[in-house]
């Protein structure tokens, strides 16, 4: 490790694409053969952030926000239009071998495993490509096997593996050279809940075991909430938030969600509803169970009042779901 400075540093980085545009229809298609109209798509616009070694950072944003473009710039696959980017002390776009030895990119929607051969053969190929000594390779593979349970699946042809098994092997193939920086682009996409938890847990343990830096994009908020103490939110190419997750929730939805289950008779329901509405915004109410949204400042007083006047059987206080927070955030920034 070179220094205690950031391992990833992005300053005013922009990435613009020139895209061909035409209307639907034959005439327009014929016209485009002669003369083409091009637009500039601003995928990423002057974003800046820095990530310290060993951090786990969630990279959030709706489809087309510029997340994958940013990851590809950081991995050296795309050249930024302007601004500066440094990863592990290297300029990624130069794609120096020493830089590529230190990073990995896992894309949930693309695979590097050889389709007709067992993953073990892809592992061997990567060992040769990354020039990993046999002893180190054996150790790493044993460690990955312990964390992911590969031995039962790595000798079956890839095409015969389930999506979850394939993703485990994809991760293993991407980590055999023990990279210091992991770019994970939707690694749990399409997986069932239990496999998502397995992979999430694996990423956390890999990060703790090897001190690797993780930058993760995912549409599953549970992934981000469980894995990433810090989130960076990007929308339409611009940076909207950089900080911890509770801070993001506080800034967008400064409320708590209170769920109450009430006892009592049906004739009490009208009175109960009045009391609930006095304390906060009533999101749902079926006569026995109510979901209330209460401002954080009024929470203590409001809950005490409800406990005093209503026959409360059960009560939970939670932050609003992350999905709703994100929806709010992106709706606010919509033009």
């Amino acid at each position: 490790m070179a220094s205690s400075g950031p391992i990833i540093s992005v300053e005013r980085m922009s990435k613009h694409y020139r895209v061909h545009q035409r209307s639907a229809g034959l005439l327009s298609a014929l016209g485009s053969l002669v003369s083409r109209r091009h637009d500039i798509k601003r995928a990423v616009e002057e974003i800046s952030f820095a990530i310290s070694p060993g951090e786990r950072v969630g990279f959030l944003g709706p489809n087309g926000a510029g997340k994958t473009t940013t990851l590809k710039v950081l991995a050296g696959l795309l050249h930024p239009t302007s601004g500066s980017v440094q990863v592990a002390g290297f300029v990624p776009q130069r794609r120096e071998a020493r830089f590529l030895q230190q990073i990995t990119l896992v894309m949930g929607q693309k695979q590097q495993l050889l389709w007709d051969l067992p993953p073990a053969d892809t592992f061997q190929l990567n060992r040769a490509v990354y020039d990993v000594p046999q002893a180190v390779f054996n150790d790493t593979l044993a460690e990955l096997d312990r964390l992911l349970g590969l031995s039962a699946i790595s000798r079956i042809p890839t095409r015969q593996l389930s999506l979850g098994e394939r993703m485990k092997c994809e991760l293993a193939a991407a980590l055999l050279h023990r990279p210091r920086v992991l770019f994970l682009d939707e690694p749990t996409i399409g997986l069932d809940v239990s496999m998502q938890v397995t992979l999430r847990e694996f990423v956390r343990r890999y990060n703790e075991r090897f001190g690797a830096t993780v930058l993760l994009t995912s549409h599953y908020m549970d992934d981000v909430a469980a894995l990433c103490p810090r989130v960076i939110v990007i929308d339409r190419g611009t940076l909207r938030y950089d900080g911890d997750l509770p801070g993001l929730v506080r800034s967008i939805r400064p409320h708590k969600r209170v769920t109450l289950r009430l006892g009592g008779t049906p004739c009490d329901q009208g009175r109960a509803e009045d009391q609930l509405r006095r304390v906060g915004e009533l999101l749902s109410w079926d006569g026995t169970q109510a979901v209330l949204q209460i401002g954080k400042d009024q929470l203590r007083e409001g809950v005490a009042h409800l406990l005093g006047v209503l026959p409360v059987l059960d009560l939970t206080v939670e932050d609003p779901p992350l999905e709703e927070v994100m929806r709010d955030l992106f709706e606010r920034s919509a033009p």
Partner: protein
Amino acid sequence: MRRYLRLLRASLRLSLLLAMQYRWDFIGHGLMQLVWTSLGVLPLWIAYQARAAAGLSALGGYSFPQALTVFGFFTLLKALLDGAINPSLTAVVEHIRTGTLDFILLKPADAQFLVSTARQEPWRIIDAATGIGFVVFGMAGHIHQGGAPPGLGALLGAGLLLLCAMLLLYSIWILVICAAFYVVRIDNLSFLFTSLFDFARWPRSVFRGALHVLFTFVVPLVLMTSYPAEALLGLLRPPQLLLAVVWTGLLLCLCRLAWRRSLAAYTSASS
């Protein structure tokens, strides 16, 4: 250098594993190749039979054994084209189309090397062996008809020109791949090249005028098969050898330049 040899070995090993994954395909392909390659000599044989029936022995100044030597070099290079170049080409074009070229570009090795050695068809080794057989058979016939056996200089010259031929073929193929970065589907371009390459089975004296220029400089088929054969037969002059070497160097530089420009223009497929 040693690392790249190890990488080549790893890639060959994978291709062999892939070929053997479907064992009946492996056996079937091997046998079919032997039959097809052997039948490939028929057009040449028929042409010479027709000449013989007309009371002539040579075609464009080439006797049958001499033409067979050219055909041997053609078969050898066709084995390289079908065994190493076309399979990798198909794989790379697919990588560019789907965006999985990203994985190759993320590897800490020269991307052009990785792309070039992506896939091989091991059973084409049968074609290569058959090609060498035709060269040996053609040379034996040439000597039997009173031709001089090749000396050390001729053998070295033929070896050098064979190397040039392989590099020329490789350079043209890289240029075709570079086109895939811009036009995505290059099937027609590869079909065109495969069809054009078929002309390389004929001795160069068959082509005259513009065709001779086309097949010497633009699509240098003459340099690939006729020149090595002529070096072996003792018919090639030193300036021609020099021309082949210089032309190979130029095309290699051009293909490296085109590769770099294409990579810089690569935008990766959408996520």
